[in-house]
């Protein structure tokens, strides 16, 4: 292990804002995109089902 403590890990040698700003936004974008894809699918399935029932 290269870190002595957690606070040293979060500080990133003074570059904490830049490093975690990069990692955090990347993770947030990927999480948001995945959530949005799931939402789009479930909304479409609900819509298709409603149309199906309308046709019966």
């Amino acid at each position: 292990m290269i870190w002595v403590s957690w606070s040293q890990f979060w500080e990133m040698g003074g570059y904490g804002l830049y490093v975690w700003g990069s990692m955090g936004v990347t993770a947030a974008c990927m999480a948001f995109e995945s959530w949005q894809a799931r939402l789009a699918r479930s909304q479409l399935l609900a819509q298709l089902l409603a149309e199906n029932e309308g046709n019966l």
Binding site: M1, I2, W3, F9, M12, G13, G14, Y15, L17, Y18, V19, G21, S22, M23, V25, T26, C29, M30, E33, S34, A37, R38, A40, R41, L44, L45, L48, L49, E51, N52
Partner: protein
């Protein structure tokens, strides 16, 4: 043999067959993306030492380079599907191109974002109008243009064809981005990894970065397959098999 192989490919170019194939593939890609991502982050943050010149600040590389690679790879994939779509008039091609675009735009944005956060401490500027940065910004705008154009055209197949043209014409920008650090004098450093010479990075840093790149590849494949399934259901919603799926899901 060739005829057999071609038949196999055309079989999966049909939306219904591809829907099933994509459904079987995406969970594996997502799981592998998670494994490679955790492994890459472990190497990048827990094993790799600080850089001699940039201290701990260089660790931005573990997302910056993979995100930038994916922004270019995804655009080339869109151009590839567009050529197929215009040549064979396959329905799947337009759907694949559309499914790729949002993820490509996201990676282009992340490339610019992480680049700004890296530029500020190392160069003293969030942004410079340098060839590498400017051509990546153009790539981001090409993605946005593709998305805006295709969603503005109501006729889906016409939208697919118009989008295919942007994807193919815009692809000329990708080699410009890649070679910009060679062709022009730029502030941006040259390639850390290339096919022609051995990498200018320490082994463990390189492995961390390559694992993150693999993670982003698999994430992209998983997400695009997932998204194209939704598009297929939407476009084929008049068919019996899609109605059956909607009924099953309820």
């Amino acid at each position: 043999m060739n005829i057999l192989r071609a038949n196999f490919l055309f079989h999966y170019a049909g939306p219904q067959a591809f829907y099933g194939l994509a459904g079987r593939l995406w969970p594996w890609c997502a799981a592998l993306a998670a494994v490679f991502g955790l492994w890459g982050l472990w190497l990048g943050f827990m094993v790799a030492p600080a850089d001699a010149q940039q201290g701990e600040g260089y660790r931005i590389i573990f997302v910056h380079v993979p995100a930038s690679w994916m922004s270019m790879v995804i655009y080339m994939a869109m151009a590839f599907w567009s050529v197929l779509g215009l040549t064979f008039n396959t329905r799947l091609s337009g759907m694949m191109t559309r499914a790729l675009a949002p993820t490509g735009a996201m990676f282009a944005f992340l490339s610019l974002w992480t680049g700004a956060l890296w530029g500020k401490p190392m160069w003293g500027a969030w942004w410079v109008w340098d060839a590498r940065l400017t051509s990546e910004l153009i790539l981001f705008f090409l993605y946005l243009g593709y998305i805006a154009l295709t969603s503005a055209i109501d006729d889906q197949r016409r939208g697919d064809r118009a989008g295919a043209l942007i994807a193919i014409v815009g692809a000329i920008n990708v080699p410009i981005i890649y070679f910009s650090v060679k062709w022009w004098n730029t502030l941006h450093q040259g390639a850390s990894v290339s096919l022609t010479k051995s990498p200018s990075m320490a082994q463990v840093m390189l492995w961390g970065m390559l694992l993150m790149a693999l993670c982003f590849w698999l994430y992209t494949i998983a997400l695009v397959l997932y998204r194209v399934r939704t598009t297929i259901l939407h476009r084929e919603s008049h068919t019996a098999w899609v109605r059956a799926i909607a009924q099953e899901a309820a």
